[in-house]
């Protein structure tokens, strides 16, 4: 296959940035999207041009490191991570536009690489159960109905890639934040800090500059792990019940 790539190039955070067009040929349909970029980068390096920088690590769809806004969609046309997208999803002669995640809270570091540390800070605000190592009860002393454990697992599958933010016209991080709040609100282990957690994580999410949710559902449609927006509804319930009976006085 022969392709034309329109890629966002930006030297660093303060550079204005812009699209640069690159032709690539000898693309095989069996390549992953990132392997196609590897080929481009080898060609650029051989020519002495700076390779395109992009984040990636496990390349099996679980670490959440890869991103890329491909033809106007986070992670491209399929509901997977970019590393699991293969070139058979594209046609010979096609032009593909590749951009970084676009959100105020995810500033561009270089080319297609963005800074997602805001997500870490949201978790640091309360995305945990405050237990130290040791001194915990036997695992089977906390029975949890299978249906509840399964729901918690559905939420816990979030890989923190940020596609939800990139897909949202408001750059809202509510799907991400609600997935963690839901997981812990559903489980008995999370009950003690339930209210504080909801309040603090939501406050941090706002402080980072993420937008609000207007229920368009774009986040759910693009989430590579199929995290449901019912988590957002649950987070809103948690948050409202927390603020009306706040423990943080």
């Amino acid at each position: 296959m022969k392709l034309t790539l329109k890629i966002w190039r930006q030297k660093n955070a303060s550079d204005k940035g812009g699209f640069v067009t690159y032709p690539v040929d000898h693309v095989s349909k069996d390549m992953s999207f990132l392997e196609m970029l590897d080929v481009l980068n080898e060609q650029l390096t051989e020519k002495g041009e700076d390779p395109v920088h992009f984040d990636h690590d496990c390349r099996e769809g679980i670490c959440g490191m890869c991103s890329l806004y491909i033809n106007g969609k986070p992670h491209g046309p399929l509901q997977t991570t970019t590393c699991q997208l293969h070139m058979r999803s594209f046609n010979d002669g096609e032009t593909i536009t590749i951009e970084p995640w676009r959100a105020k809270a995810f500033p561009v570091v270089k080319d297609l690489v963005v800074n997602r540390s805001a997500f870490d800070r949201i978790i640091q605000a309360g995305g945990y159960v405050s237990v130290n190592t040791g001194g915990v009860p036997d695992a089977n002393e906390i029975p949890i109905p299978k249906t509840v454990a399964d729901l918690a697992m559905d939420a816990a599958q979030c890989i923190g890639c940020g596609a939800c933010v990139a897909a949202c016209k408001n750059a809202s991080a509510m799907l991400f934040t609600s997935a963690k709040i839901s997981q812990l609100a559903l489980l008995p282990q999370g009950q003690v800090e339930r209210k504080t957690r909801a309040e603090k994580m939501v406050a941090q999410m706002d402080a980072e500059g993420f937008g609000a949710c207007t229920n368009t559902g774009a986040c759910e449609a693009e989430c590579p792990k199929g995290i449901s927006i019912t988590n957002i509804a649950r987070m809103n319930r948690e948050y409202f019940s927390a603020v009306v009976s706040s423990e943080n006085v």
């Binding site: 095989s28 069996d30 390549m31 992953s32 392997e35 590897d38 080929v39 080898e42 390096t45 700076d50 390779p51 920088h53 990636h56 690590d57 496990c58 390349r59 099996e60 679980i62 670490c63 959440g64 490191m65 997977t80 699991q84 293969h86 270089k110 690489v113 800074n115 997602r116 997500f119 870490d120 978790i123 640091q124 945990y128 159960v129 405050s130 237990v131 130290n132 190592t133 040791g134 915990v136 009860p137 695992a139 089977n140 906390i142 029975p143 949890i144 109905p145 299978k146 454990a149 399964d150 918690a152 697992m153 816990a156 599958q157 890989i159 923190g160 997981q183 489980l187 282990q189 999370g190």
Partner: protein, 644 residues
Amino acid sequence: MILDSKIPAGPLAEKWTKHKFNSKLVNPANKRKYDVIVVGTGLAGASAAASLAELGYNVKAFCFQDSPRRAHSIAAQGGINAAKNYQNDGDSIFRLFYDTIKGGDYRAREANVYRLAEVSVKIIDQCVAQGVPFAREYGGLLANRSFGGAQVSRTFYARGQTGQQLLLGAYSALSRQVANGKVKLYPRTEMMDVVVVDGHARGIVTRNLITGAVETHAAHAVLLCTGGYGNVFFLSTNAMGSNVTAAWRAHKRGAYFANPCFTQIHPTCIPVSGDHQSKLTLMSESLRNDGRVWVPATKEIAEKLRKGQIKANDIKEEDRDYFLERKYPSFGNLVPRDVASRNAKYVCDEGRGVNETGEAVFLDFRDAIKRDSRKIIEQKYGNLFDMYKQITGEDPYEVPMMIYPAVHYTMGGLWVDYNLMTTVPGLYALGEANFSDHGANRLGASALMQGLADGYFVIPYTIGDYLAQIPPKKVDENHPEFAKAKEEVQNRIKTLLSIKGSKTVDYFHKKLGKIMWNECGMARTAEGLKKAKAEIKALKAEFWKDVKVLGANEELNQSLEKAHRVADFLELGELMVDDALNRNESCGGHFREEYQTPDGEALRDDENFAYVAAWKYVGEDQEEELHKEPLVFENVKLTQRSYK
């Protein structure tokens, strides 16, 4: 130096309890006066950093990823073993210990493995308390499944994402300590060297991957939780960034490297599809329960198949060779990982491999679907079949899957004593980065167990014993050793950027990977290893003359990051070859063709090789020095494994 493993005396089951009691303690008020550096934030690193911070130590945690949650532990699928005996099926700490020692082909330390089995039960409690959503039964209690190398069900799991959920648990504990101000986090920061002052590890040199700034960090102890080195083969199931640099720099500063040639090659991975391939994807071992492994009976048929003249489904029953069922009638397709991998290689070497590259065998579900119905197979393996289809574009319900072995885990690593301390005082290695618990072969669901055991339940005790013996005053970062180590790192960066050669970093990495895979992979010979050694030496010389690294240091520069890592892989590769050449026996994942039973199985030599090979770095381009730690077995009897 004589290697002192510091294994406590006394009966196996009492060693750890006694050792904990005999270890010195740091009093609670003094803990805040000690600084600890943790490099890597996978299961071992995150759990260690969180636990030490909870105790009151000041922790600095480093990772090269953009967030600690992305460390490669996250990709582990199957599960985590623990001797809980919740199933009432006869499990016990001793049984888990025994299975692990035997699975490792009797090349691991009894005392370490027993401790691992002992603390395994606490890991599950800890993870559940953190809110890890393990699979459960309808009664609300934890579910288990069985795994290779064991006859009991002791594996806890969270769907096919156990590693992810355990890591997110440890990451949440770590995040809590970041919020508490007890852990300072350094993401996108790569460790470049260890600083050794008067024989003790006292800090590290790092490079900020965004700004390129080379910095030093001082501490009373340094923990390397930096994973394995499978990427020396270029293609592996490891993440793209997984590397040996931290461990290798420690090695060059005095830490011995143990059993570097012990590599685990996993039989069920999606085969290489072309030269563009950047990594390999694992398909769960469970598929071998229902899939039948075969290749065409003759070279001629295989050739026609490769040229696309015939299709797999057209090949008649009598023209198929179900080679595992034929050679191992009692275990069939369920032989252990190393045996399955080796046999796949043999049939491909005979020219009977099946995809375009000739390096693949079939894993066929036709008979299982006929027997059980498509619906049953879909329930069991639906997600795996979907994943396979996504990657290869072929539907495994209709045509047989193609699989081939791939590098998956490295049992070797930095030599550590019972306290997890390397041969450099104050420098520790945890998780896959050390060598200690899996011998020559690791059993499924044991890597997660070891990472968390080391971080949650071993290091919090053993580090105190060391710190209590040094005065609680700040480590002086103005010591000339810090400036010296920093300057060496800066010089290396300058050198790499100034070579301006003609070949990319990946060119060298791929070439090294090919040498390692061909000569130091699934089957090894003295002749091949000698050839490999010469080739690696030449490749290394070429690298330092002709590598092309663009850009500058003072920016995000992924070529420069890779160049550092590949430079270290080139040196490690040579040591792996030396180690494989030295070990004149076959055991676990290490198969020397000269040492096999008449039926082609691994032939151990317990009389001469029941030892840990620990290598000491002596200088640039010099042969490393071999030190032996004898393995003493007081509680298990050494036997030959047979799966016929």
